[in-house]
Assembly symmetry: C2
Homo-oligomer: 501 residues x 2
Amino acid sequence: MAAYEQLVDRFARLASLNGAAAMLHWDAAAMMPRGGADARAEQLATLSLVSHEMLCAPEVADLLVAAEGEQVRQVRQAHLGPWEQANLREMARIRAHATALPADLVNALSRAGSACEMVWRMARADDDFATLCPHLEEVIALVRQAAQAKAEAFGCTPYDALLSEYEPGLTAAAVDRHFDALADFLPNLLDNALSRQPAPPPAPERMSAALQESLSRQLLDMLGFDFEHGRLDVSMHPFTGGISDDVRLTTRYDEADPLGSLYPALHEGGHGMYERGLPGTWRGQPVGGAMGMAIHESQSLLVEMQVCRGDDFLGYLAPLLRNVGGVSGPGWEGEGLSRRVRHVARSLIRVEADEVTYPLHIIHRYRLERAMLSGDLKVADLPGAWRDGMANLLGIDVANDRDGCMQDIHWMDGAVGYFPTYTLGAMAAAQIYRAADAALPNLSDDLARGDFGPLMAWLQKNVHSQGRLHATADDLLIAATGSPLDGGIFRRHLEKRYAEG
Amino acid sequence: MAAYEQLVDRFARLASLNGAAAMLHWDAAAMMPRGGADARAEQLATLSLVSHEMLCAPEVADLLVAAEGEQVRQVRQAHLGPWEQANLREMARIRAHATALPADLVNALSRAGSACEMVWRMARADDDFATLCPHLEEVIALVRQAAQAKAEAFGCTPYDALLSEYEPGLTAAAVDRHFDALADFLPNLLDNALSRQPAPPPAPERMSAALQESLSRQLLDMLGFDFEHGRLDVSMHPFTGGISDDVRLTTRYDEADPLGSLYPALHEGGHGMYERGLPGTWRGQPVGGAMGMAIHESQSLLVEMQVCRGDDFLGYLAPLLRNVGGVSGPGWEGEGLSRRVRHVARSLIRVEADEVTYPLHIIHRYRLERAMLSGDLKVADLPGAWRDGMANLLGIDVANDRDGCMQDIHWMDGAVGYFPTYTLGAMAAAQIYRAADAALPNLSDDLARGDFGPLMAWLQKNVHSQGRLHATADDLLIAATGSPLDGGIFRRHLEKRYAEG
């Protein structure tokens, strides 16, 4: 067997182990009773160790070298196409990330992350940062070690090494450029939006969880989500888990806030359509995976923000709320409904933030995680730094750590370098949506009828089916939209929606 | 680190992988959308290959030899107790089962089993044995190879080698002895029971699935099942999955047949109490596992058959059905209810059979699987042999293969040697229950009040907490009841319940 085929076999095996871990992560959030947590942490730590061992096996290095040689010959003979070449590139990338870390650090990170997450669940409920602090300190110390090891292996800065786990090729210099422009732009826009928007509509009537679920399923059907290859369940924080052939979406139901379940369902549905739409021919191979977390987020935000908070779609949603959800009145249709789904507010919680203030929450976390990584900010000083940042960026007082620096799971699990992708994803969503809109002359009418077919077909062709063929998100954006990530399009979208008309 | 401690680490890692596989098996039956089946089969095959590799690593053999040496020294110095010694014995046993099979056979068995199971689900619905046949032939051919390889490694017959996977130390000679006595005894008892029992009571009213679920949960609470370490869900066939710290029970709800959900829930609850009650100190170690499938089944049948179809418990169940389930009338209390839960019938389907005819279904399967393993029976001839056996043993005509040789999943998955443990478990249940009854003078009153505390405490002490300390089920039975498996106690139980009074 040629070296390349042997690598394909090994990475397929690895994908099965990662797929098993993905299902167990989903189960932990959506199904697992509390008493199963310790055993689950052991299962996940063991799976990550086994994966790490497989990737680091010396034979993989030999096979990569041999396959490179085959590649040179076969490209010349036109036997090896661009997908195979990209697959080899991604195999080498994944292996480089694995071999940069010794097995005991992988193990320590997995265990410290699980332990910290468990402590965090209790400590957050009790607003008790002191109890969390030593656990988070341990996680951050291990992340710093890992970042340092990767920086040395890759010849880059420690933070860039972490960024590149979530978004290949992304650097802090690029993030700075995008975020500086936003930080300049958003405060004025926010003031403007706040001063223009009318008082929020009166609190509308309740909707039962059963009706919210039924509506959520109907909206996912509308997107084209395939329930033969996926599920919708409940978890504390909505997310998309599982694998491309078995996509597990979650949302949550609050009877007093039906839009707070429907929009998360639409958001996760966007993620789910991307996962499911990844190229079937390349299932289980690195090149068949999602481009990166920014493009992933662009697909959820394109559905949730670009489309489903726009007036075209609201014209379709309102009768659905009335006829299926059984709610009516001024807060459920026309102007009242648009005001509610596009309401802007300075608020404490990222996951509940509107699209104008959301990037400020992200810039805030980006600055803090960089400072923690460099050592400029001690974990023990995080609560104070959080308060200062929220006051500066959002002009809001943080009353407690539960609604402050303890609100997110990411750092607890050692995910440093992930936050920026949310806002890069929001930018990419605006850019991709504009390109789709230009290509689909009837898009507005389609969406007003709840017909997502043409939009999804365009996304499938230009984004989903591309997997990881391109080396970076910018390359994918150039192919799909004609230019690399252009934050101006997102800013223009915000201006148009929140400061004009 | 001493060799024994190194083995403890390795087997803990193995237990985590097996635990991950157990959760994925549960998910496949209770949660997974149909489209996830191929990827799941890959995940499970990969996990079983990785486990197999870990067990077969030459270092494990070296460690076992070194630990044996330590054992001799430390037993002399009283440093190594009976649990550690039993743990070493079980480690060696598990490794012997693994090393007897080459990796490609393990892989082929896993894949052929998954493929056959998928074909079976469709073919059974269509009553299409011809489509199933080549797949089942492949599975049986691989099982015969595996049995032969193990027979050579262990110096026993191929069928005994398979039996010992599910029940350590069990031989076909022992099964024959027990089953011959039953095959002599049951036909007369069955005629007697059928002639004595009154006509079945009229079909009673329906109960909603929601009420059945609520009642099932209440009954599991009554058993002492810990929902902080477990769940109750729905699957086509009720089963108990997961791990000791996260026990996943399933049942099913048919509004026309509420007892058909409550008794499976009680049955699985008995399995669940055993799993959960295994010794916490030895979690993840071989000695901390269940004794074998016969003892496992004894714990479910003790609850379902010995206790919950007896008059004491029915006195507690009847008001519950009325007050919680909202059903009433002659079929839901007193004589009518006992007649329903103890109704005996010659029937086609094993999982719906009563406790008198159930062993005949098992003896039937035992004879057929031995004949398939020896080569005396070809898979292609299975439908005819099935009809003959059902006519001989149960006096019943089999109209189609769906309700005949295609009804069970076991052979599809390559589980040959498993069926006998169901009936050995029924025997052990009668024997263990008699010992508990002798030890607990107020048991009858306790059960009539729905108080399972004293019974479960006795089982916990004498069965659950013993894990795999004993080398065989007979050794455990001697310790718990004073004698090895004694089929006479089960036969006496059946006589008393179905042929007297």
